[in-house]
Structures are given as C-alpha cells and as structure tokens.
Amino acid sequence: MRYLPLTDTDRADMLERVGASSIDDLFVDVPAVAQLDGPIRDLPMHASEMAVERHMKALARKNTAAGDAPLFLGAGAYRHHVPASVDTVIQRGEFLTAYTPYQPEIAQGTLQMLFEFQTQVARLYGCAVANASLYDGSTACWEAVAMAGRITRRKRAVLSGALHPHYTQVVKTMAQFTGDTIADAMPAIQTEPDNTGLINRIDDETACVVVQYPDILGRIPDLGELAEAAHAKGALLVVVNTEPVALGAIKSPGEMGADIVVGEGQSIGVGLQFGGPYLGLFAVRNPKHVRQMPGRLCGETVDAEGKRGFVLTLSTREQHIRREKATSNICTNSGLCALAFNVHMTLLGEKGLRQLAAENHRLACAAADRLEKVPGVTLLNTAFFNEFTFQLGGQPAREVVRKLADRDVLGGVSLDRLYPGVDALKDALLVAVTEMTTMGDIETLATELEGVLS
C-alpha cells in the first residue's frame, strides 16, 4: 500500500528482533472482547489514487462552486481573491508538515512567521498584543468572554443583539457549563445599531460587553460610545470583527477603546472551505492583560551566540504546563491558516489592504444602489462596509434565496436561516459584496431578484 513503506520481509525481520512470532503478539494486551478477526466489515478495501480521485471529484461536482455562480453570501465568511503565491507558500513541506514549534532551533520558520502574524493582527486591531491564533472567530469570542471574566472577576456578559448568532450560541453553550450569565438579544431591525439598548443592559456585575463591528446586519456601531459606557461600569469592551478587510477602511477597534478584540481571519488568505478551517484572531489593547490571554504566544529572544531568534513563550498560561489552571484548553490552533493570513497580508500591505477595502466598499455601494431599484426591496442600512440588509416587503427571504439558487445565483443569506422562526426577521436578506463581485454579477442578481419577487 502506497503510504506504507514496510515490506513483508521488513515485517518478518522486525518481528524477530522484537521477539514476537506474529503481529498479534503485540496486541496481547487488548482484551478478547475487543479483538476483531479481520478488517472491519461494511467498509471498502484500499483503492488506487485514481479511484479515490474519481470518488471525490464526483462528490465535489455535486456542489455549486462559487466560481460557477454569482455569489453574495457573507454573514461571517467572505469570498475574497487569494493570490496564487499564498498556496505556494503554505504547500511548502517545511511549513505544511511541521508541528507546533516545540524545538525552536529547527522551527524558526514557523516562529518568525507567527511573530510577524501577531504583529499584523495587533496593528490591524489597534491592539498591543495578538496571540498566535485560535480555532475561529466564534470560539475566540467565547475565549474573550472567559478572559474578561478572569480579569474583572465578574460572571456576566452582555451581548449585542447584532452579534453573529452562531457566536452568541457558542458563548451561551459554554456559559451553560461555567455558570456565567449571558445577556443576549435579538437583532433590532432598524437602520442604526441599537447602542442605547445595549448600554442600558450594562450593570455593575457586567464583566464585558460584546459587540460586533461591522455588525451582523452590516451596520457600523460607534465603539467609542460603548467603550465609555462599559468602562464606566468597570466592564471591558470586547469587539468582534468577522470581516478583517473592513478594517482597511474603518477605524480600528483598539483606537476606539476596545479592550479585547477578537475575530474571524478567514477573509485574508484562508478561503471559504464550507466553513472551516478558519482562523481565530485574538488581541488585547492593554499589554498587562497578556498573562490572561488564551493560546500560544511567540516572542523574541536570542540564541547562545546572541543571534535574534523566536520561541513560544509565556507558556505558564497554557494547558501543557498549567493543566487544570490554564487560561484555555487549546492546544492545536490554526497555524497554517495564520501563515496563509500572514502571506496574504504581506502581499497586500498597508496600501493593498486599503485598496482592497475601498474596492469592496465601492462595489457594495454600487450593488446597494442597483438593488434598491428592484421593486419591493428596501435597504435597511444607512451605513455599511461590504454587506448590508435588504427587506423584501414581507416576502420570505429564505424562499427567495432558494428560488435564486434555482436560477444559479447565490443571492445572499436570509436572516431566517440565521434566526429561524423569528417573524420580524423573515423578510430580511443579507447581501455581501467583495472585490470578486462583478458589475455583471450585480446586474444578474438584480434581474433575477426582480424575476423571483414578481
């Protein structure tokens, strides 16, 4: 078999060396009840690369790839152009087939990359320190809530109604077990984010306020106002960002007073991949909070000859040292996605990220303008970056999305998919636009939407 280098002769020689008469001798400690008499039944036997490729390609063909239909889906996962050289780099065996850099003398490649990545994320978020990644935005969001609890020694988190519902659910799932109180809410269908409502929910027990920026409806909340209100009550402001490209056009959460900034990094370098693996970003504005951070941190040091080098550091926060007292149980994180982010962000640079953001916004404005002209359609947002919400005049958006798909247009995400069963949200459609969207795509969506709605 093509991945198994031992030959039968090798096996015989090796069994002799270990003093076993057959391979079964090495499994003597397995109780009889669990000994199988042959390969597991009901599963196929081994297959050639050609046969497996056929099988997998047949499955892939049952999906509509984004390149084959105009795509306006967002809601926490965005289709951006990833330069070809990103994949070249992440396929280098030295990156792809390495482990977490436990032996720094032969892992400087991964370590220096992580140091660069941490710097990029910290700067993007307007923070002092970022970690070496978490699983994804949603789990990073929970980690932020937990960390805020450790810092403030309080157990109540107030979530904005316009936080991505999956993120809300993840936080609530965890809180069921930790005993934290989570004050969440439904998104209010209104042109501006409901900052007042959110501020009113902050009390003296509140560890943190969690707000998404831009929010799930594509609106842009004023973080400064929220930071002030949170800090006044001794709470931390946790800002969640699901579209890092936006931060090329709008102010960073850090500069507006956020204490912990977390987010999804998938837009940069990672790709859609049906939802995973993605890339959890996590940063803090105040360097004093570093020792409460979850996840790995890469730091600068020198070697025995005085040369600069990098190591994983502050590991006394982590499970492999601290065990049950660790700041998080995370071990494997999203290393290779962090590399993809790092490479893509390097290709963009300050200039490219700003241009990318401008281009996203320009096309989103064009799409909003065009779609508003479709009869029966109203734009909710006054402000947005590259995603916005339409109301379809009472028509069920989910149905409309399905009909659009029948016409080979992936027209957006219905709020009913995200918040099933909430009447007030049923006719709302979330539409995302990126640099990959063409004016032709926008026209197609407008036309088909008109067709479906009429």
């Binding site: 032969i106 490649g109 799932t173 102010k251 190591v311 601290r322 071990c331 494997t332 290709l347």
Partner: protein, 526 residues
C-alpha cells in the same frame, strides 16, 4: 534477540553517509551576510517591507468616491508593510528552510503522530467544489459537501463501533470539550452535573484543562508501577460525585490499558461516563473498536490518525464519537440523510432531531477542509489498509523499544509490548546531561527530537512515536544515530550541552523571552 543495532550498513540498504571532515575545513570564514551557503538568514517582514509596496495590483483609491462608512473612515495608518510577489515568495521560502517537517526526515514526536501527509489529500481539498463553497450556501447547492460529512461520519462510527459522531470540534482539545460537555449535559438532565472528573497524571494537559473549563474539579487517577491505571485504587475512588473518568488509550506511556473494559464497567456502575482521549487511536485503528471497550465519548484527531497535516500548529479537527447513552446530548449541527437520499443539516431550527443537544460549539459546521482530506485518506487505505496502519505503527515502535532498551532507561519495557510509541527516561545520563541535551544532539544528526518531558510520570521522559510511514531503513538509521547520541549522554560528553551546532539557531534563551516578553515587532527605539 534484542541485540543492539550497530551503526553501519544493513539489509535495508541504508549506509551511514559520509562524515563531516574533522579537520576543521567546515569551519569556514565568517560571511558578511551571515548566510552559510544554503542556510540563509532572513530579516523580519517589517524590516524589509514598505507601507507603499504591495504585491497585488488593485485599483488606486478614488478619494472623490463618496462612502457610506458613517464617519468611521480610518484616519490613522494601520502600520502594515507590503512586499511584492518576488519578495514575498522569497521571504517565506527562506523562512521555511529554517523549519523541520515530516517531508524532511524522521519526526518521532510522541503523542503527535507525525505521519506522512498524502498529497492526494491536498489536491482533493483544493477542488473548487470543496474549497470554494460558502458555509451558508443554500443546501441544495452543497449536497456533495454534506455527503462528504455524512460519509466521513459513517467511517468514523464503523471504525470505532460507536453509534453517533459529532463533527464540528476543531481539534483534539475542542473534541474533549465536546465530550465532557455532553457528559455534563447528560448528568444535568439527570438532575445533577456532579463535581469531579478523574484524570491520570500521565494525561495530556488538555484533559485536566478541559475538565476545568467545563466546570469540573480534577482529581488524579493513580497508576500502577507498570504504567497503567490502577484499577483497584480507581474503584476505591469511584463515587456518585464522579462525573467521568478521562483515560487515554493506548495511554501516553505507550501501553494499552488492559483493564479498560473493567474500568468502564466500574465507572458505569456509579453512573459515571467514560471519556477516552483518542489521540492515540492510530495504534489500534482498524483492529480494535473503542465501542467494544465501553467508551462513552472519544475524540479522534483527524490530524493524527487520519493524516491531515499539522501545519506548524494546526488546523486540526477533532470529531467525537458517542455511545447510545450520550448521543442525544451531542452538539449541533450535524448532517442527516433523508429518505429521498438528500442530505440535510440539523441546526438550531430543526433541533427536534436532537432535542437534548447541548448546543453549538462553533460557527458553521466543522473543519470541512480536514474532512475532505481525511475521507480521501480513508478511501485510499480502506479497512484493510487502516488495520495495516495500526500494525505497522505498533511494530515500528516495538522495534525501536527493543533496539534501544539495552542502553537507554525504558521504564515500562517489562510491561509487555508497547503500542505505537516507545517511552524512555534519562536517569542514567552522565554529568549533568539530561533529555534536553540528547534531544538537541539529535537535531544535529538531522532528526526532529521525540516528545520530551511528557508524560510527566517518567523522569526526563522521551516519547518516541515512529508512525507507520517510516521505512525500516529510516528507522535503522535513526536507531544508529540515537544510540550514538545516547552513548555520548551516558558518558557525560559535555559537547552535547552546546548542541545543536548546525541548526539555524543555537539554543534559544527562553527565560529572557518570558521575562521581558516582546510579542510584536516595533520600530527600533519605538
């Protein structure tokens, strides 16, 4: 029997390579660049990039274009720098060359299962029908993706003999959390979450961390001198306050827990659940089904047993299989096959299909990119191949154990065959040499060291996991090199203290790194 392997030619065709000359020729003159031929130095991105440089050709920003950013336009520079594509490719290529990976050589990092990552997996994961689909696309347009999840689930259930599997956990530790949360949910449904989770001292750090994260107190499970759970002592501790035991099997000493079934029965008897850390599933895949041993929940690291790449620290994927007792508590979402052959995603809205689910652990539906790779791998190996995987992995480990035990302290060598990894300790080393020194000596020899100082139960632990994807020639060469470095360690050879000599960096100062953490680049003087 068990004669030491001599360095030198062997039947598998490996020959010791030509020696580095000892006449000092290699001690060449210092270079002005700091480079040493193909061993290249590389500055930080921020030292070579510019704010105005970019490696993408996007349209210049039209400042006259009105915006709808509600007055939140960025005013300050972000502080990023860019490189053009040639500079980018070179920067990362040079960095990559300072790394060790499985593709370069033997990487026997115990507990981490650094097996070969098949390239077909990578190719399949990149098919646009998998790589370029949106997680919230209308389900009619992603039937193939849902079918992948369904097929992979089916493989996992059959390989483990368990009736249910949760696919969304993002790595092993996340899988542990998934399992423990289901256990807690089940207890809670019975009116009492209970207080304690029992975990052996030899367990991986994620086990106690997870139990604590889920709100449990962690207590030790005692071990026998032969390196296994002490069944009698465990039974003594079992009481209705115990929510679960978390046991790794094969365990982190590389041994199969013979009494697992009895342990499970005893735990079940007090109403507790058995969580099995399945990180070591590679030792038994296709040969032993955890379901036959009484397991209630077990995570599987697709990035270990099922060959998805480790990528310098992830991403992973940690599906969790569940017993009948726990399956109703498993998380959302999951994939269901309908009678008409279509696939649907069970999420919040149709959670009636899993009424007692503890809820959602992550956005979207799991590590799809890892699923396609793992399924590709399973189809390639088949049931027969996977069984052979386990057998070869175990054979290789025993071969190493028996080829080194004569010179290296092997605390559990008498406990029967090891499974997929061989455990050694540094107790006989000379001078003040320790495991770390041996590890660094192996680096010079061209190897990634084994796992060191884990598990905690052995002094200077060295956990060697060859996996099944090494050839005998490769292992023989490793044994020869290991013996040579071990002999130096036993003899107290002080030159080992300064190893590695040839790596891109000499030993790094970890204390300084932690004392004054520098975690992001800043302009010198900033």
């Amino acid at each position: 029997m068990n004669a030491p392997v001599k360095s030198g030619p062997n039947k598998s065709g490996w020959k010791p390579a030509m020696q580095v000359s000892e006449d000092g020729l290699h001690n060449g003159p210092a270079t002005t660049t700091g480079n040493r031929a193909l061993m290249l130095e590389e500055p930080l991105l921020f030292e070579i990039g510019h704010a105005e440089t970019t490696g993408v050709d996007l349209p210049e920003i039209d400042p006259s274009h009105s915006n709808r950013l509600a007055g939140f336009e960025r005013q300050e520079p972000i502080g990023l720098v860019g490189l053009t594509e040639p500079e980018t490719v070179r920067h990362y290529t040079r960095l990559s060359r300072q790394n060790y990976g499985i593709d370069l050589g033997f990487f026997p990092l115990g507990s981490c299962t650094m097996k070969h990552n098949p390239r077909l997996n990578e190719k399949m994961a990149r098919l646009s029908g998998f790589a370029d689909i949106h997680p919230l696309a209308p389900k009619q347009s992603v039937q193939g993706a849902l079918e992948v999840i369904h097929q992979l689930s089916d493989w996992l259930m059959k390989l483990t003999g368990m009736p249910s599997v949760a696919m969304s956990p993002k790595a092993g530790a996340h899988g542990e959390l998934c399992g423990i949360l289901a256990i807690r949910a089940a207890h809670t449904a019975n009116g009492n979450p209970r207080e304690v989770v029992l975990v052996p001292e030899s367990a991986h750090g994620t086990n106690p961390a997870t139990a604590a994260f889920a709100g449990y107190k962690v207590e030790d499970i005692p071990a026998t001198p032969e390196g296994r759970v002490d069944l009698a002592a465990l039974k003594e501790r079992l009481a209705p306050d115990v929510a679960a035991v978390m046991i790794t099997n094969p365990n982190t000493c590389g041994l199969f827990e013979k009494d697992f079934r009895e342990i499970a029965d005893a735990v079940h008897a007090i109403g507790g659940y058995v969580y099995c850390d399945g990180a070591n599933f590679n030792a038994i895949v296709g040969r032993v089904r955890p379901g036959d041993l009484g397991v209630d929940a077990m995570h599987i690291n697709l990035h270990k047993t099922f060959s998805t790449p480790h990528g310098g620290g992830g991403p992973g994927s940690g599906p969790v299989v569940f017993s009948e007792a726990l399956k109703d508590f498993a998380p959302l979402p999951f994939v269901r096959k309908l009678d008409d052959g279509a696939f649907e995603l069970v999420e919040e809205e149709n959670r009636e299909h899993r009424g007692q689910s503890f809820g959602r652990m992550t956005a979207f539906h799991g590590q799809m990119g890892m699923f396609t790779r793992a399924l590709t791998y399973m189809l390639s190996h088949g049931a027969d191949g996977l069984k052979q995987v386990a057998e070869d992995a175990v054979l290789n480990a025993n071969y190493i154990l028996r080829s080194l035990e004569d010179i290296l302290h092997a605390p559990y060598a008498e406990s029967g065959p090891c499974m997929h990894e061989a455990l050694f300790g540094d107790k006989d080393f000379g001078g003040d040499l320790s495991t770390l020194d041996l590890a660094k000596g192996l680096i010079d020899e061209g190897y990634h060291p084994m796992t060191v100082y884990f598990p905690l139960v052995v002094h200077g632990a060295m956990l060697v996991e060859p996996t099944e994807t090494e050839s005998k020639a490769s292992i023989d060469q490793f044994i020869a090199a290991f013996r040579s470095v071990t002999e130096r360690a036993l003899a107290g050879d002080e030159t080992l203290k300064q190893a590695p000599y040839y790596a891109p960096r000499r030993r790094l100062d970890e204390t300084q790194a932690a004392r004054k953490p520098k975690l992001a680049w800043s302009e010198p003087g900033e």
